[in-house]
Subunit: 172 residues, 2 copies
């Protein structure tokens, strides 16, 4: 089964992201707006129990982190994906590192970590340039604190269900 780990932001920020995703993101209906902390990995029913225990342990030791949106950006020309850029900080980086280092389950990430919330993807180059220009004119400044992360699994139709949430308890 396919799993992933994300943080869901507040309703305010999810509503803002969805106002774009509704039109520009074909994955809009598969999952609500999120920041990926550990990309898709495969695990069987036994393995996921161990993974869940390890994530619980990581969450217990991790502090809540500040989520600060500063601007809209794009992964073009690698992919025509537009996103809210999330400013990096120590808490977020160390959480990401704990969930992705070699001693943890799953493959090492292929790219370096760019914290973000996707708002548009699978665009043609023309669409990408148009939409990026439009979205940049909107308001994208937002701050909040994230105090929990979610372990998800994927259904056959591509949609994601939450397996478990973990509070960032900050006992490190």
């Amino acid at each position: 089964m396919k799993y992933g780990i994300v943080a869901f932001p507040s309703k305010t920020l999810q509503d803002l992201a969805n106002s774009y995703r509704k039109r520009y993101d074909p994955h809009y209906s598969r999952i609500t707006p999120h920041m990926t902390l550990k990309g898709v990995f495969e695990a069987n029913d036994k393995e996921i129990e161990t993974v869940a225990k390890e994530v619980a342990e990581i969450a217990r030791k991790s502090r809540p982190f500040h989520l600060n949106l500063t601007k809209v950006s794009s992964f073009a020309p690698i992919t025509n994906t537009i996103y809210f850029k999330v400013e990096s900080n120590d808490e977020l980086l160390s959480l990401h590192e704990a969930l992705n280092n070699e001693s943890f389950f799953g493959e090492q990430p292929e790219y370096s970590f760019v914290p973000h919330i996707t708002i548009a993807q699978k665009l043609s180059s023309g669409e990408h340039d148009d939409i990026l220009g439009q979205i940049k004119m909107g308001n994208t400044s937002h701050e909040e604190t994230i105090d929990r992360i979610h372990l998800l699994y994927q259904l056959e139709d591509g949609s994601w269900t939450v397996y478990e949430t973990f509070r960032l308890a900050g006992e490190a």
Copy 2:
């Protein structure tokens, strides 16, 4: 903000439910297949923290329950909603009771509790009769154990995000 409490069944059962929901349930993209344990209620940011604490306490005391699907049924003529009927049992009933009794947050339920997983809704009467007949010919027998429940909130576009999961720890 609107909240609700549900149990998400296993991937196997969700995939089965989605094979029908994809075609027959306009709420298909808002939430993955689920059994509602406490219907929609309103709470503000302060209240929901209290609610979450109470749900945690209820979950700690509640035992995991057996989810046994026996047949396909319908709420017609009240509404043209078709569902997998979930057999009731003591664990499930006492969990539902704890989440809906008067000392807990939110309105009392309007109807008596019929444990179910919706697979089709908002149908015309003609569609309803056709589809119910078709679905009844499929395989709907399934058993599993549910060991966690989920507190959700609703976004402006109608979709649901998980606020927190709670393990049924069975310490009662």
